[in-house]
């Protein structure tokens, strides 16, 4: 499984990528939507894990643009929204199965990744 992590918090995505590598998952990371769009020009990813709130465009919009470039790519969204209402609103937009609230449990994230790829 090869995945792309996108979040403007470098310390978050770089560490998460290392932890995923220990679990046999090849993860690249970027901290901007521009870099994410560039990355998919040269690399093929099974799945992207996107922060919902990244500078300039939303993670949901970035997901749409990545999907245009690679229709086979799956998505999981992460959010820092704190309340149940926020979570419900975000879930409705992105699909509840593919939406995780920060801080994310890595085993749950991997479980969701597998589910997205199965779907």
């Amino acid at each position: 499984m090869k995945i792309l992590l996108v979040d403007d918090e470098e310390d978050l995505v770089s560490t998460l990528a290392e932890r995923l590598s220990f679990r046999g998952i090849d993860a690249d990371w970027v901290t901007s939507c521009e870099d994410a769009l560039k990355k998919v020009e040269t690399e093929k990813y099974d799945l992207a894990v996107l922060d919902v709130k990244i500078p300039r465009i939303s993670g949901i919009e970035l997901g749409r643009r990545l999907k245009e470039k690679d229709p086979e790519m799956g998505f999981i969204f992460m959010t820092g929204h704190g309340s149940d209402d926020d979570f419900k609103a975000g879930s409705a937009e992105a699909g509840a199965e593919y939406y995780l609230v920060k801080p994310v449990n890595i085993e749950l994230l991997i479980e969701k990744m597998k589910k997205v790829l199965e779907d």
């Binding site: 403007d8 918090e9 310390d11 978050l12 560490t15 998460l16 290392e18 932890r19 220990f22 709130k53 990244i54 500078p55 300039r56 992460m78 820092g80 929204h81 704190g82 926020d86 609230v101 920060k102 801080p103 994310v104 890595i106």
Partner: protein, 221 residues
């Protein structure tokens, strides 16, 4: 205080909610980073127990990263506390330079999300005015929100505090697309009650790409 809230209506509460949501969002990000770094320490520990060897420097680096996030969270919470207390007094004496520094920290995340750089031109000497800190923050936010739309291709907004003959001024500079942004109404219905309450006025210099928020020395007079 009640009379002030009657004038502002729901706008003040909306502003309070918007700032609180942004702060909680930032704290969640800090917790997420701490969570991954402590998780990585756990991963290293488990692998060490199984015979793997890691450079002790890796543990030191992770501890430093966690420490940096704790300091970041501390600053966020201190700002949140100051913001919450800005509502305590209907009017008080404040240093406008300190106020702008605080406002910049409070609004920084919004600027980052819009790809805007905030550049402060802070004065060295104290610039004291008597005003309502909460409502001035609200009005400063509305002006900055407009200024960020008007920043245009420069993607930078300058913030400055200046002394006037009577009172003081907050300047929002570098607004390269100010002409385009002014096609809507500004100041509009959200700004007008706050301008009235603070006895302030907005001046617009389209040629220089600047908005000036003029404040009286004492809003109570």
């Amino acid at each position: 205080m009640n009379n002030q809230w009657d004038i502002i209506g729901g706008e003040g509460l909306q502003f309070f909610g918007k700032m609180s949501a942004s702060i909680s969002h930032e704290i969640k990000n800090v917790l997420a980073i701490i969570n991954e770094n402590t998780g990585l320490i756990e991963d290293y520990t488990i692998m060490t127990e199984k015979g793997a060897h890691f450079d002790p420097g890796k543990f030191k680096s992770l501890a430093e990263k966690i420490g940096a996030q704790i300091r970041r969270a501390d600053e966020i919470v201190r700002n949140m506390n100051a913001f919450a207390h800005s509502i305590d007094e209907p009017a008080k004496s404040i240093d406008l330079s300190d106020f702008l520094e605080f406002a910049q920290a409070l609004f920084a995340r919004f600027a980052v999300m819009r790809g805007i750089r905030l550049e402060s031109e802070l004065t060295e000497s104290a610039l004291m005015i008597n005003t309502s800190p909460f409502f001035l923050l609200n009005l400063t936010w509305l002006c900055l929100d407009f200024a960020m739309d008007a920043a245009g291709s420069g993607k930078a907004v300058g913030l400055s505090a200046r002394k006037r003959d009577i009172g003081a001024q907050i300047g929002f500079t570098g607004l390269k697309a100010l002409g385009e942004a002014l096609s809507g109404e500004f100041p509009g219905e959200k700004e007008k009650p706050l301008l009235e309450l603070l006895k302030a006025e907005i001046e617009i210099d389209q040629e220089r790409g600047e908005i000036m928020l003029n404040l009286p020395g004492d809003m109570a007079r």
